[in-house]
Symmetry: none
Subunit: 208 residues, 4 copies
């Protein structure tokens, strides 16, 4: 006796972990486009094609979705940096890493926005979400490590890798965030702007 038409024998289409991914993907797109506060759970649910309560089968709250995206964004960035960044022999190698950073941001403005331009209370590194801080620090650590390595190889070339890494990171973040947030600004040729920005900051890695 055939049981009344059920879509698939065991898992319904897009159930389980896949649903979770669908939700994250939709939320990432929407958060990036309209901002964290500009997106409602209803919109997310609709974008996924499920009902609102279904979201809560996968996430405890809207905040948890945002946090997961935040952590993932940093992981993705970290992964890219780890993959693309080789042992630096010259500032050019640092420039490659910086370029990876920029490309990540511009290719994934949603993720970048979620990761770095996290709205909400400022003035505290969201201690309630330790994962968020941790994943951010890890990505930063790679850059810091590269600069330290580079300087170690050229002991006469530079000092204070910590400070320099922070300075360079900040310089990158400024460009990426402004390019994302102000697309209407009359920027000069983007490619050239980015290229020079990256090279200049990379050269700073060996500053004394």
């Amino acid at each position: 006796m055939p049981e009344p038409s059920r879509r698939s024998p065991r898992k319904a289409k897009g159930a389980g972990p896949e649903r979770r991914e669908e939700i994250l993907a939709a939320a990432l797109r929407l958060f990036g486009q309209y901002g964290l506060y500009g997106v409602s759970t209803r919109q997310i649910a609709q974008a996924v094609g499920v009902s609102q309560p279904t979201l809560y089968a996968y996430f405890a709250s809207k905040d948890e979705i945002a946090t997961e995206l935040h952590v993932r964004a940093f992981r993705e960035l970290e992964g890219r940096l780890r993959t693309g960044a080789r042992d630096p022999e010259s500032p050019d190698d640092v420039a490659v890493a910086l370029r990876i950073y920029v490309d990540f941001g511009l290719e994934n403005p949603d993720a970048y926005r979620v990761a770095f331009m996290f709205e909400g209370q400022h003035g505290q590194d969201m201690p309630e979400h330790p994962d968020v801080s941790a994943s951010g620090h890890a990505a930063f650590g790679i850059l810091r490590h590269m600069i330290a390595e580079l300087q170690a190889r050229h002991p006469d070339g530079g000092r204070d890798p910590d400070g320099l890494a922070q300075s360079i990171w900040a310089g990158m973040h400024g460009l990426v965030s402004l390019l994302i947030a102000r697309p209407g600004f009359p920027w000069t040729d983007r490619e050239q702007l980015i290229d020079r920005h990256v090279r200049m900051l990379a050269d700073m890695a060996m500053a004394r």
Copy 2:
């Protein structure tokens, strides 16, 4: 004998234009702390010590409060830059201007946050708020002008003042915004970090 004008000790707090300023001050603090979307008109009213509708006697909408704060913040920055920035003869003079920028941001983190807060729909520099864009562009224009002047004086020293101004501005914004947004991060010595960051960016003004 006229009795000495009885002032009611209760409601004479601050009328007229002063109330307006009180509201702006409270809104600035709250917006800076919790973000534009994280603050309700109720909270603003409560912080001022008035009822919600009273706000609407001074501002047409919450948006108007935010816009006014935004414009004021950039005006203040513009004023500081205009006052402090002299005709640049060397990158050091540019560094002075950049330092003014940083100091403004760190001394008025709320205002700085509000100034760059208008990142609504991911992009769109809010054409509906021309003042908002205008005030930002004016402040930027001063830096751009300085760099152009400097290069004009040293024709062999640099080119593309537009692109450089954007690059330097971005570099500054990155540092200021991160210092404000991540106070918990293990920054190296702030003063030294800022000082070198500023000098490095200023040196870029004469890049070729």
Copy 3:
């Protein structure tokens, strides 16, 4: 010694009863245009050029303004009818009165709207405002009296002046209110429409 230009020797400009009239005039115009619920006391005050609380020096409430306008409208109509309506010798004389009615409505759509299309609770003749009902009944009484007179003169011509007066009144009201409320409707030639409508209803005055 000429006193400093005051409009009138005693009353300050627009003070006292004149103010009251100004308020009523402004309210009549606004109520007629936007409806009773579509007009706020602020709008009335602004139209008059005074502050909101000033209204309450002349009227106890917004409702009192509306009521006064209502009563006045009926009085005006009553006055016009009393003036223009002569002892009826034929239906033509009734037609004259009906035409007065229509003209009143179309020339003073604001007043007509206030008088007859009074929004609010229906199903009761606002017993809380006895004046309103009274003034309405008075105007109606004139029409009823005309018809009775006419029939008395032509004893074979008609009966039931009460019912006929109500019927004719209703017929008039329907046309006036629709012409006022639906100006966008594709009415045929207004003058001709009104003229025939009036004559037909007047002829009914002698129906048996």
Copy 4:
């Protein structure tokens, strides 16, 4: 052993489309009684026995509720006219249609009031609500068509069916709206009043 499906005795009131109808019914009653502007969504929700936000699961806005009621009212009227009105051979057949009109209004005073309620900005047949105008015109069109048919059959009997239809419609509307709006008025015998009113207007259909 499966226990017999427990039905919760509390919340099973009326789900889905039935809720929608409940809301419409409650809104119709309230709008008819207190007017469109005199009723709040809270009152509607309370009358239905649900919370305020629940309304928005069934209607996008208060305006949508009103529009639906308006359209329904005219549709109902249109349906009654279409059903009851036969090819007119004499004014008596027109009288039947007019009587249907009156009966509809008096049996459904709320609906009638709602149908003619959309008198917003004094004029403007709400071009933003095309349905509203359309449904009204459709009902009127039936009457117009009847009169034209009648005159076509008796070519010597009447002219200008458009103008006559408007005149007769206005005459009906006046009586119905006053009977509804002024129940406290000392009307003569209602049945007789209506009957004669209807017959008189119907006779006008063949006026020259």
